[in-house]
Assembly symmetry: none
Homo-oligomer: 325 residues x 3
């Protein structure tokens, strides 16, 4: 579809969240279709996890987004989907790869939302494809368990913060979940949640560096808990790390089923977003360093630095590999 | 994309206007892409005309709309696009043809919006395809001239109208044109206009028969005048004819460039929509007869009857033809 | 236009904010049109104030909102517009008055946004109409000055609040101002701001009483400062007063023009919203009393009580007057 002014920031760059939402919708369609094929019981595929996603080049207003999706692995109860997004300038015909994303879905019964159904297996062209898929499956399973454990953190408000401190740029928004946000099962689409997360992360980044910012990447996101229609969700973000030219922002999503007295507010999702600051010509700008004050902030800064160096090393390894081929 | 609650009426049937909007967006993308291929000057394809469109089967919330578009003819300054819409129930895998639409686009220069550019010719598999396309081109050109002449009519308000009269159900809405309604040239997308027209026509139909109504077909729509960002558009509809099981509604779109004192309010588009009334089980219901009072209303009723009989005859001829093959 | 699922809460009642947004759009159109008629310089009418608005009966999904607007007074630099909203159930034909609102607009030059233009005077049928309008004009002018002075207040966060305290239900959201939120001048539509304010106030009310809540009335709102495209706005709400069956919520809008280093965050708007809690059958429910803790909270509770009693007295006087006629 054509990118509209509402999909983009003032500089005309399409929000990362808009792209994540399109990716998730494509993934939900292909995996729901697959799981219902010759199935005994109708089901809806729910997003369980999105692997780390890099935004390779910015998309602009007026460009057409081409989204294609393919199922690349199935375990007994989950589906791995690969989604590619290309931006096309229909005036010049130029096409660029914007994203490649990997998503995991789980089929939930339409009749009983707590019942996970079996996934029909796909055929692999080569045996190695199945083995590689299985390896990816095991890895993500491990990672999901880990993030589930560190999910207890909270963002506390700060009064009169100094510029460039964590408290200065931290932000949160609340959103009342409406019918258009939800699947047939009455739960929020993963893509809607990711769009709100990117919105908050973008505001944190803009408040910190006061320039035009764009999403550079999103770390793996795990969806542990479903969010029901009628909940109020609070999406909060705080900066955890800055390198010379990038900012890492941690985002939490908490759901409050306030019309259901039997349930407490709970942490539904958390993730790390990385942003870069761009000049008017679209060149990366230096980012003011984050000032850490408390012990926790210093610890999170070091952890963020670890993730940053790991990503950098992995990218260099990939480039060397590509150069040798 | 997946159909959401806001795309549909209370009974869960997707609005005809939502489908028309998707069709037009697909047509605008394919024809803009075609006209810019190896072109000297960048351009945007603007909708000039939509041929008569039948809604063959209703689409529902939760279904996926698959839209495909193909260029079927090019004249020197216009492109004919054929768009097909299939609805897919991803739970059952069932697919149904929802629409087949034919649209005409004209490439306008990005630098000078009043300049119509030349269209690169397409290759035809067979010579007959080109001849048939040319015939369709000549026919629509003639029809466009005709509608341009009868565009002067107005809808006047009626005080305390009786049920089932024209005045009783006639309706209008105003809309301030915002940035997301517009193309790169700053003019309203034809699809946005058609969606508003369908909304008003649907209100007229529902007021008349007070049941669940769905769009059955839309007569050819000609877009004579572009509508600019910042205009206020008034969309008005009145019932012109009822058969036993259908209602015909005439819809006018007037644009008021109210911050530009040099321009008067003008008629931008007009069209005829046909609606049917459905029972809870989705079966067509009888429609209360329209009570005509003035001479003009009686004349329009007769003209509507003419269009109705013509369509009926054409459809019977097609069915006989199909049966013979 | 027809009310859609996204316009309403889970119980199907259309949000007060959606109605306020429609009212403001109608007012902006009629006053912009009036001020441009035979004008030398094109202008856009900007919302300066909305008088106290009562929501007389709830509107539901599927109903049609009929909005009509009329200019009732003009001063040299401002326009008073009266807007009426009727809800119409198009299936039964039943119509109900939902709102009557009075709005004040000021024409700003399209070329120089800081220049207020002159308003062409309207003709009055009777001299008394002009005198009454002038009286209303003087009254609102006085009231605007007053609210400008008390606008310094802030909502501070509370950690681990007890149920039914002020801190327990207070809420805030942030919103990045996008192109669709803005007028041709690049400033936020007053209606967009009011919709966000109602959203926050509704969440505060729902958090307090954990039932289905609807907007009952909105006190006069003054728009002292324009909000520019690209700003981040923070909308915060806290409960100030509860009677047996109603809750009063104070809402603040702060704008942060963070990409413009020369400007500080500033208070743009503030207002009081009154909500009632409804049972599943639509009957008013008792509201848990607000627990006030600090001196400021107790003072605001007393002030809220004052406003409540004043409104009650005025309404009783009106009813007696109506009964005598």
């Amino acid at each position: 579809r054509i990118m509209r002014p509402d999909d983009a920031n003032i500089a005309g760059n399409v929000h990362g969240g808009t792209i994540l939402k399109m990716i998730e919708e494509a993934g939900a369609i292909i995996s729901t279709r697959h799981c219902n094929f010759q199935a005994e019981e109708p089901c809806v595929a729910a997003l369980a996890r999105v692997e780390r996603t890099d935004f390779l080049s910015p998309m602009c207003i007026g460009e057409v987004a081409n989204v294609s999706a393919e199922i690349t692995y199935t375990s007994r109860h989950s589906v791995e989907v690969q989604v590619n997004v290309m931006s096309e300038n229909i005036l010049t015909g130029a096409k660029k790869v914007t994203n490649k994303a990997t998503l995991w879905y789980v089929p939930l019964s339409l009749k009983n939302v707590n019942k996970v159904l079996e996934v029909p297996p796909i055929q692999y062209a080569r045996k190695e494809q199945e083995d590689e898929g299985k390896k990816r499956y095991e890895e993500q399973k491990l990672d999901r368990l880990e993030t589930k454990q560190r999910n207890g953190d909270m963002i506390l408000p700060v009064i009169n913060p100094e510029p460039h401190t964590v408290g200065y740029s931290q932000s949160s928004l609340i959103h009342l979940v409406g019918p258009s946000d939800c699947t047939l099962l009455g739960f929020v689409h993963g893509g809607v949640t990711m769009k709100l997360m990117d919105e908050v992360a973008g505001i944190v980044a803009a408040r910190h560096c006061k320039t035009n910012i764009v999403t550079a990447s999103v770390d793996a996101i795990n969806f542990h808990e479903k969010i029901k229609k009628g909940c109020v969700i609070t999406v909060s973000g705080r900066m955890t790390f800055t390198s010379n030219k990038s900012m890492e922002i941690e985002v939490f999503v908490d759901a409050d089923p306030f019309v259901d007295a039997s349930r407490e507010r709970y942490r539904a999702v958390s993730a790390f977003f990385t942003y870069v600051s761009l000049s008017k010509e679209g060149k990366p700008l230096p980012v003011p360093q984050l000032l850490t004050e408390t012990e926790d902030e210093k610890r999170r800064f070091e952890e963020g630095k670890g993730r940053y160096l790991q990503t950098k090393a992995r990218r260099q390894a990939q480039m060397q590999q590509a150069a040798q081929q």
